[in-house]
Amino acid sequence: MSVLEVSQLVGRAGIRASGEISVVTRPSWERALAELARGHRDVSYVELSAVEFVDVAGVTALAITALNLPDGRVVVEHPPPQLPRVLDLLWPGQLRIEVAGR
């Protein structure tokens, strides 16, 4: 059974996730993103170095969260390789998400 754990970052706005983002763990990922959007000011961070896999719907949820922010951007740190691949294919040229440390 795949699991996903999400916690708030300490000292900066955003979240840190570990585990797997898939159809099985979708509800907790979407809850975490909703919370991220509520606390967003200018730049929010999403730290994914402990995430092994993210599927298309998981990237979609993140992309839509970022697109709906009133301003600023989301910096995604150390995502699994699926994330930049799906962004390139399905959201080419979007400017709201910055991927750091592929």
Partner: protein, 309 residues
């Protein structure tokens, strides 16, 4: 009054051409007619034909979108979202004009059913849209069966400079005819999965795909695509399914089979608005794969994708 203004109707003629000179004359005239009316024009045809049209247009070719269909449309399933609708939607306020040649003599027997279905589905994807899509067919090289199918997938036919309505037009019959049963080879590796083994089936697919020769981005794509098909089985296919993976003619083939029925023939081909959730998993499979084949009935659905090693 329910008549739609003429300029908002969708036109989808098949052009049967005999040779390079005939091809150039007809396609160049088609492009020029669009330019004269201020329509944005895109040309997506195989490389050598791209050259014929560019040379024929001369300076008029400047500023038009040219795509090599053997790359952009390698998998015919991505031509609607990735080429045709992408272009039309980026000029949503205008009538657009496109030459799309998805079927050429080198298309394999395993690709052709998906090509014919794609031609049929253009009619559904563009219903009521202000667009003209001309599809050239090489009379001298394509089989009689392919040319006959084009009369079912296109409401109008152009041959030897004459345009006529196709009395055989029936695109849904082509979608149904090429909804062919798919056989899995006996030596394929298999993995039955459910919600508890979603990560395991992806890992199994990745390991096997690597053993069969995929590397780098293609290996990443294989794992992603299997993950999307398996997730669809969990949500729409009865909560479980079976993966099969094998090598065939220089390609890795992965198939997911489940008990669901794919009732929307345009699934995975409908462009999504940027802020729309859902409906992108199968589209991603179409974007990364060299070919996607589907067989769907009341008893279940098999979707397989091909990645060239």
């Amino acid at each position: 009054m329910n008549a739609m203004p003429v300029e908002e109707t969708f036109e989808h003629p098949a052009l049967f051409y005999r040779d390079a000179a005939d091809y150039t004359e007809q396609t160049v005239a088609f492009v020029r007619a669009g330019l004269a009316q201020g329509e944005p024009v895109a040309v997506a045809v195989p490389g050598p034909n791209l050259r014929l049209i560019k040379d024929g247009l001369g300076p008029d070719a400047e500023g038009l979108l040219f795509l090599d269909m053997t790359e952009a449309g390698r998998n015919p399933g991505r031509i609607i979202p990735g080429v045709l609708r992408k272009f039309a939607d980026s000029h949503a306020d205008r009538r657009v004009r496109i030459i799309g040649e998805p079927i050429w003599a080198g298309r394999s027997a395993v690709e052709y059913p998906a090509c014919a279905q794609h031609e049929a589905l253009i009619n559904a994807a563009f219903e009521g849209r202000a667009a003209t899509i001309l599809c050239p067919y090489d009379e001298s090289k394509l089989t009689a069966e392919v040319l006959a199918d084009a009369r079912l997938t296109h409401p109008t036919l152009i041959s030897r400079g004459r345009e006529e309505r196709s009395d055989a037009y029936d695109w849904e019959a082509i979608v149904a005819r090429y909804n062919e049963e798919l056989q899995v080879p006996a030596d394929a590796a298999r993995f039955a999965f459910d919600a508890d083994t979603l990560s395991a089936v992806r890992a199994f697919a990745a390991t096997r795909a690597e053993e069969l020769g995929l590397t780098g981005l293609r290996l990443l794509d294989a794992e992603l695509a299997v993950g999307e098909l398996a997730a669809n089985s969990l949500v729409h296919g009865g909560g479980r399914g079976t993966l099969a993976i094998w090598a065939e003619a220089g390609q890795v083939v992965a198939e997911v089979r489940d008990a669901g029925r794919l009732s929307d023939p345009l699934a995975g081909r409908r462009p999504r608005r940027e802020d729309q959730t859902g409906g992108r998993g199968l589209m991603l499979v179409h974007f990364v794969a060299d070919l996607v084949r589907v067989h769907t009935t009341e008893d279940g659905t098999a979707i397989r994708f091909y990645l060239t090693v």
